[in-house]
Assembly symmetry: C2
Homo-oligomer: 301 residues x 2
């Protein structure tokens, strides 16, 4: 990447996009978010869309990460295998426009259970750079597809994805439970009831049906959205913590509302956690990658 | 119900309807199925729809069961509480048209985990009447909402519902896994792989994502529909058998294809099972209820 004073970092996902103007010394100067994720970009439209970002921030070099590097994105960038570190991510960048625009690769796991990520790897590396997670820490990344990422000596050593957010959304919009699942999930007694059941090992497929049964029986006022959220997050956290070490303090990287629900679940199992802002982690990760590229250039023969 | 030589029994569900003309001595004479489930009946249209059934079979008394007795059906018939036996079901029938048409109540569970059923109770009672399950047997009823029903002294003593079929369908039609889940699930190596993982206790939310990851990595040819089916049925059966007794032989009441997948899972856990045709079980259950009504009438003062 051309070494200029500023560059633009973009977290370019399936539905949304967030962009930051970053000064090499001062850090993030400006940011904005829009709905120009992959689903909104017409075929062959990434050039035009990237130009729009530059129109806001100026003609700086750009570094992109997330689903923009997938088969549905601008250019399919091969995954880096675990264990994946900063060097591997920087070396795997795919360069467009003679190095003016780079796309950071995703990370895959081929040993054991197959898994893939695109975007979360930058945040994981960033959380370590920020000191928000230790070099051997455990990261929980809630979302449509939540990720549990194990770091080892500062590298992404392994991870697994849970379809928690997507299944919640399917149940809420398309299932027999829909009409009992309106409203946003909150940490109320229904959430805690679902959480307790999940942490006790209740089978998800059966426990969910209580929402329907209690409605039919008018048994009591169950907040279906919060109960289902508690159940699903409980299942997620129970599985995510299955390999945790007693001294792990889990770094939760995500938006505040959802992260707080996960924090509640993690605490209930007996682990400590702290929430790391996902935007901060992303910016820190991109800065770490750019710094690494700079060092590479300086030491090049 | 007027005591005539013949009557019509109807399993009237949300999406489909099946009707039988039953002779008191000879049993089922004729049957047919159509798509005139609750969703196809306009408001106030049950009278007309029932007349259509009689047009095929003649002006016989009718006994209806299933979702036709729900709040979305012809008339909401209160649930009978567990433990529920033949007497309770017969006494709970709601009579229309001066006793010419009856709607069998569903069964609810209010002790422990709340649960409800409408229609499966007739098949459970019928399976006992047929001798296909012992009076203390365990019944597995696969479907959109599968049911595991424990009989005790010939009564429905408790049950629980799993959202297995509905979640499979949501994943197949609406999720990020959809394009890898086309085709019907069959008992192939992908099914067995999903089944093994579920029976080993793999977390469903995480295991499902292998369908996506392996596709992205082009790792191997996974049949996503069969793998997901194996996973979900494995989770269902694992939970369903959690309270089974060592000598239980599970009666699976359902259609042949799905029942065979469940039988495979049940056998893998080490239990015996046998498949009972769901239509046969329903007819036997309705006959048992009608016989019971007749005895009641004979012994009435």
């Amino acid at each position: 990447m051309q070494r200029q004073q500023r560059y633009i970092a973009v977290d370019w996902g399936t539905t949304n996009r967030r962009a930051w103007l970053i000064d090499r010394e001062k850090g993030a100067l400006e940011s904005y978010a829009d709905d120009q994720g992959l689903l909104s970009i017409p075929a062959g439209g990434f050039e035009v869309s990237a130009r729009e970002v530059r129109r806001k921030f100026g003609e700086w070099p750009m570094l992109l990460a997330g689903m923009v590097g997938s088969d549905k994105g601008w250019h399919q960038v091969p995954y880096i295998s675990c264990p994946a570190d900063l060097t591997a991510l920087a070396d795997g960048i795919y360069w467009l426009h003679s190095g003016a625009i780079g796309i950071v690769p995703g990370v895959c796991q081929t040993e054991g259970q197959a898994d893939v990520m695109r975007g979360e790897e930058v945040q994981a590396i960033g959380a370590v750079a920020l000191g928000a997670v230790g070099p051997d820490g455990l990261i929980c990344h809630p979302g449509t597809h939540s990720k549990w990422v194990r770091m080892q000596a500062g590298r992404i050593s392994g991870f697994h994805t849970m379809m928690t957010g997507e299944i919640f959304s399917l149940l809420r919009t398309e299932s027999v439970l829909s009409s009992q699942m309106q409203g946003e999930p909150v940490a109320n007694s229904s959430f805690d009831r679902g959480l307790e059941q999940a942490l006790d090992g209740a089978p998800l497929l059966s426990a969910l049906f209580q929402i329907r049964a209690e409605h039919m029986l008018s048994k009591r006022q169950l907040d279906g959205a919060s109960f289902a959220s508690g159940l699903l997050i409980g299942c997620d956290v129970r599985a995510g913590l299955a390999t945790a070490r007693p001294d792990d303090a889990i770094a939760i990287i995500g938006n505040r509302e959802l992260s707080e629900l996960y924090a509640r679940a993690i605490e209930r199992v007996g682990y400590r956690s702290h929430i790391v802002n996902d935007g901060d982690a992303f910016v820190a990760g991109m800065r770490a990658i750019v710094d690494h590229l700079d060092i590479d250039q300086e030491t090049a023969p």
